[in-house]
């Protein structure tokens, strides 16, 4: 692929970075990223990946845009209220960068469709709002060996980690099972500062771009925790669990299943 004059301008600040260059930018253009969720996290992740010129961005989300989303879900607007979030985000990302092919998948991800949905993508981004889906995505990515960049937010705190199956721990190494329903409050119950998913989503997008260009150190084996009130970033080591039910030596989870859902609209 040769750059057009327009692309030379659009990506000039990438191309002159020695770590990116024309080669890195071409990798970005060839990359296929699938995001689960077009909510608080998916909006900034997709926005920055589209700006960066990621060739194919798939968005899996079956929800519709509501007014209460607009405090933090920056790809949507009053003009797209009631529209499927996947379509609303597609419209926004393509307006930002027509180089990008945005695939809107208006389905709820589950144990039956997840493997087929993610199979053709290079990197998966978890921007979901509930534990059952988070674990399902983790398990599916481990089974297919897909790099996964996962993020979570609540109130004034957010977390990010990168999971590289076969090269470091997975989400179940950290917490083997999801917490019982009701133990961790949802964003609906507990609230979230609107800008927080912007911080965490931007970190996730950064991890994705680093993986694509193959530069820097991925955030694997560590959970990065951001505390907005205390203005603290700290990293907690996640040891790989050799007994992990999905990525351990003798996995007990060999098939995907759906757990009862507990909801939280991020």
């Amino acid at each position: 692929m040769e750059f057009t004059e327009e692309q030379l301008k659009r990506y000039s600040r990438h191309i002159i970075l020695s770590e990116v260059g024309g080669k890195g930018q071409k990798k970005i253009s060839a990359a296929k990223v699938l995001m689960v969720g077009a909510g608080g996290l998916g909006c900034p992740v997709g926005y920055y990946l589209a700006a960066a010129g990621v060739g194919t961005i798939a968005i899996v989300d079956n929800d519709e845009v509501e007014l209460s989303n607009l405090q933090r879900q920056i790809a949507h607007s009053v003009k797209t209220l009631g529209m499927k979030k996947a379509d609303s985000a597609k419209q926004t990302f393509e307006a930002l960068n027509p180089d990008v092919n945005v695939v809107a998948i208006k389905e709820r991800i589950n144990s039956k469709n997840i493997l087929d949905l993610i199979r053709d993508y290079d990197i998966i981004v978890d921007g979901t709002d509930n534990f059952p889906t988070r674990y399902l995505i983790n398990d599916a990515c481990v089974m297919l060996g897909k790099p996964l960049v996962t993020g979570a937010i609540l109130r004034f705190e957010g977390q990010v980690t990168t999971i590289l199956p076969g090269d470091g721990p997975c989400y179940r190494c950290l917490f083997e099972e999801p917490p019982p329903a009701g133990l961790v409050p949802s964003c609906q119950e507990a609230g979230v500062l609107g800008v927080l998913p912007g911080v965490i989503g931007a970190l996730q997008a950064t991890e994705v771009l680093k993986l694509i260009i193959g530069k820097g150190k991925p955030l694997k084996g560590e959970l990065l925790i951001y505390d907005a009130l205390g203005v603290n970033f700290r990293k907690v080591k996640i040891p790989k669990n050799s007994e992990c039910p999905v990525c351990g030596k003798e996995p007990t989870i060999k098939e995907l299943s759906d757990m009862p859902e507990q909801y939280c609209e991020i």
């Binding site: 750059f3 030379l8 301008k9 000039s12 600040r13 191309i15 002159i16 020695s18 260059g21 024309g22 080669k23």
Partner: protein
């Protein structure tokens, strides 16, 4: 900076191109070189005559020559020293 024996492997004419595209085009041309090969850049944007050699050194390449060949034109010779 003795250039008597230096022969460029590739030439890049970016007269008429302004910053930062002078650097964008020069960077891309250097990426296409093999290690040890030399690129000759001819340009007429005054700031670039100063900034491109600096940028090339920062990337880890060698700048073999910066020569003003006319009141508004410069030639820069860059040798690729590092893989991208």
């Amino acid at each position: 900076m003795n250039d008597i024996n230096i022969k460029a492997d590739r030439k890049l004419d970016i007269r008429g191109v302004v910053c930062p595209y002078t650097l964008v085009k020069s960077k891309l041309a250097v990426e296409d070189l093999e290690l040890g090969q030399v690129l000759e850049i001819i340009l007429d944007y005054p700031e670039a005559a100063d900034s491109i050699p600096k940028a090339m050194l920062n990337y880890g390449n060698s700048v073999l020559k910066v020569e003003k060949i006319s009141p508004k034109e410069w030639i820069i010779l860059v040798r690729k020293e590092v893989e991208d």
